[in-house]
């Protein structure tokens, strides 16, 4: 294969970038721009804004993030398997089910530990 075959992709990229830029700036270019404090204040559906827009996330999010990572990883192993599922046959099935059992154990654990209850 040759470098030329990348050309369409390159063009597509270029167009995408240009378009997005246009979309972003067109309003600024076209419309009038007379800022006031109210206008600049973050929009909270009409209410007067309270506190800074940027706040610390509660630790819960760390927890969720961690859990996400853990279960995200299993995809790494499942993807190759899913491709070869036919060839691997029983052997693959058993192996993967072992893998999933282990993950499930982890899942049961955090479930019982209440990591999944939001409040």
């Amino acid at each position: 294969m040759l470098i030329e075959q990348y050309l369409p992709i390159a063009i597509l990229l270029a167009i995408a970038i240009v378009l997005s830029l246009i979309v972003v700036f067109i309003s600024r270019i076209m419309g009038p721009f007379r800022p006031t404090a109210k206008k600049l204040s973050p929009y909270e559906s009409g209410m007067t804004p309270m506190g800074p827009a940027v706040r610390r996330f509660p630790v819960k999010f760390y927890l969720v993030a961690v859990l996400f990572i853990l279960f995200d990883v299993e995809v790494i192993f499942l993807l190759p398997y899913s491709i070869l599922v036919q060839d691997l046959g029983v052997y693959g099935l058993i192996t993967v089910s072992i893998f999933l059992t282990v993950l499930t154990i982890g899942f049961i654990y955090e479930w019982k530990k209440g990591a999944l209850e939001w409040e």
Binding site: D87, Y91, I108, Y109
Partner: protein
């Protein structure tokens, strides 16, 4: 493409490890349904599982002479005498570790079922460290071993010391394992394989890219050197040992260290006989520095746990002495068996020492200063006697396990001295430093027997669990001292086919 079959996995060969792994997962779930007030059951269950594993292991050891070495997981894992012997050590230390914890955790009010599961996880990791025949397995085992330890050392919630210990251990551990991984990457780049035999073969023949592999080996040395707390990768040890709950410290001081050596010896001896001179010199240098630093720094410690941490660094040095003799192929076997035996004696003695520390530690975790040993001989003669035994053994005075272990280790170094005079030097440094070590070990003896503690200092009651642990370790130390041949032969037989 060829699909491996379940037969090709040869799971039977690694049955003990698999049993333990499965059991651990199970225990983790079962523990959820055990009410908090009697987590002791979890501990008993854990011991049960270890026992079952032990049985399986025993059967294997029995058949070993008949069957010989086996491969499993298509050569990723090798089951030889070396692995069997070490697995034995790991199970022993795990059982003892749990026994101690059963008494200790409730007192500190930190008993949670996870503790026991975590110990089992670590043990599985250690076992695979010993079984590994492929850097991939070594790496996964290494992490499976380390990560639970991070948690264990931070196990006392919102106790700054414990948290600090956990954090330090974790950051540095991750740091060093990064080196390890990169080392593997370089070796893979240099030789095109990660299997130990493969690497050896390539290095023996026309290496694809030798310096890459060599540097990779160096980085492996870093990663494993960190686990065994060898200079200059020892820095985490004192802080972690001091901050972590004593039960965890005791377990960590043997389990992790021995596992680290298990992999270190296996990797260097199996995969890098080609580069023996290179790592030989490195190991010698590291051994010398480790022994000196550990022993010397231990002297000015005032906290018993910290002192023992430095002493454990020193002992890593002694084991390295044996390893450094293993650079000569004809001595590799003797050297490794000396190391194995030393690790066994060290495991038992050191666990015992920590058990004593736990026996005098107060419920708030204080009372582990060396001064707190004062007058122990009066108030707790039995415990003091135990500590005396352990201290003598750690010093290496006759007739104790430690003396025999040192004798073998230095003996093999002396033998190897006919090959390179460095070995002589390392042996001499070893003897000198163990003389030095008498200073700080005897200081505890002096405290116990020649100083009066305050009379009303009352120590926590010793529950049967801890008592058992103490008895086992104490008797073990003496037996190993008087009848070393018993196990040394075992250690050697372990090596006949191994490595």
């Amino acid at each position: 493409m060829d699909i491996p079959t379940l037969e090709s996995l040869n799971l039977l060969a690694v049955l003990p490890a698999i049993i333990l792994a499965a059991y651990t997962g199970l225990l983790l779930v079962v523990d959820l349904f055990i009410p908090n007030e009697n987590k002791q059951r979890t501990a008993l269950l854990a011991i049960l599982g270890l026992g079952a594993t032990g049985v399986a292991l025993g059967v294997q050891i029995n058949q070993y002479s008949a069957i010989g070495d086996q491969m499993a997981f298509g050569g990723l894992v090798i089951v030889d005498g070396y692995a069997l012997f070490l697995q034995g050590i790991f199970l022993l230390s795990a059982i003892l570790g749990i026994l101690m914890a059963m008494n200790y955790l409730p007192r500190r009010g930190i008993e949670r079922g996870e503790y026991y599961s975590l110990i089992l996880f670590t043990t599985v990791g250690s076992m695979f460290m010993a079984l590994a025949n492929d850097l991939m397995v070594v790496f996964v085992a290494l992490e499976l071993l380390s990560i639970p330890l991070y948690v264990l050392s931070a196990f006392i919630r919102d106790d700054p010391g414990s948290e600090e210990a956990g954090m330090k251990y974790f950051l540095l551990g991750a740091f060093s394992s990064a080196f390890f991984v990169y080392g593997v990457a370089l070796i893979y780049g240099g030789t095109g394989t990660t299997s130990l035999d493969g690497v050896a073969a390539v290095l023996a023949g026309e290496a694809l890219n030798l310096p890459l592999a060599l540097v990779g080996m160096g980085l492996l040395l870093v990663g494993l050197g960190f686990k065994v707390a060898a200079f200059p990768f020892h820095m985490w040890t004192p802080d972690v040992y001091q901050g972590a709950p004593t039960a965890a410290t005791g377990f960590m001081s043997v389990g992790a260290k021995v596992a680290g050596f298990a992999a270190l010896i296996r990797v260097l001896v199996t995969a890098f006989p080609g580069a023996a001179q290179a790592w030989g010199l490195l190991v010698i240098a590291i051994a010398i520095l480790t022994m000196i630093l550990g022993n010397v720094t231990a002297i000015s410690q005032s906290n018993a746990k910290r002192m023992l941490a430095y002493s454990s660094i020193a002992h890593a040095g002694y084991i390295l002495v044996a390893l450094s003799a293993a650079q000569f192929p004809e001595l590799a076997q003797e050297a490794s068996s000396a190391a194995l035996f030393y690790m066994l004696t060290y495991t038992i003695t050191n666990l015992g020492a920590f058990a004593v520390v736990m026996a005098i530690e107060k419920d708030d975790g204080s009372g582990v200063e060396i001064e707190d040993f004062a007058g122990l001989a009066k108030s707790r003669p039995a415990v003091a006697l135990m500590m005396l035994i352990f201290m003598l053994s750690l010093t290496g005075l006759p007739v104790s396990a430690g003396m025999v272990g040192k004798f073998f280790v230095f003996g093999v170094a002396i033998n190897a001295a006919s090959q390179s005079v460095w070995l002589a030097i390392v042996a001499i440094v070893g003897v000198l430093t163990s003389v030095v070590s008498a200073f700080y070990y005897m200081r505890i003896v002096y405290m116990m027997y020649m100083r009066d503690g305050d009379e009303e200092a009352e120590y926590p009651a010793i529950k049967p669990a801890l008592g058992t642990a103490l008895a086992v370790t104490g008797i073990g130390t003496l037996v190993l001292g008087f009848l070393p041949t018993l196990l040394f032969d075992a250690a050697q037989r372990a090596l006949i086919a191994g490595l």
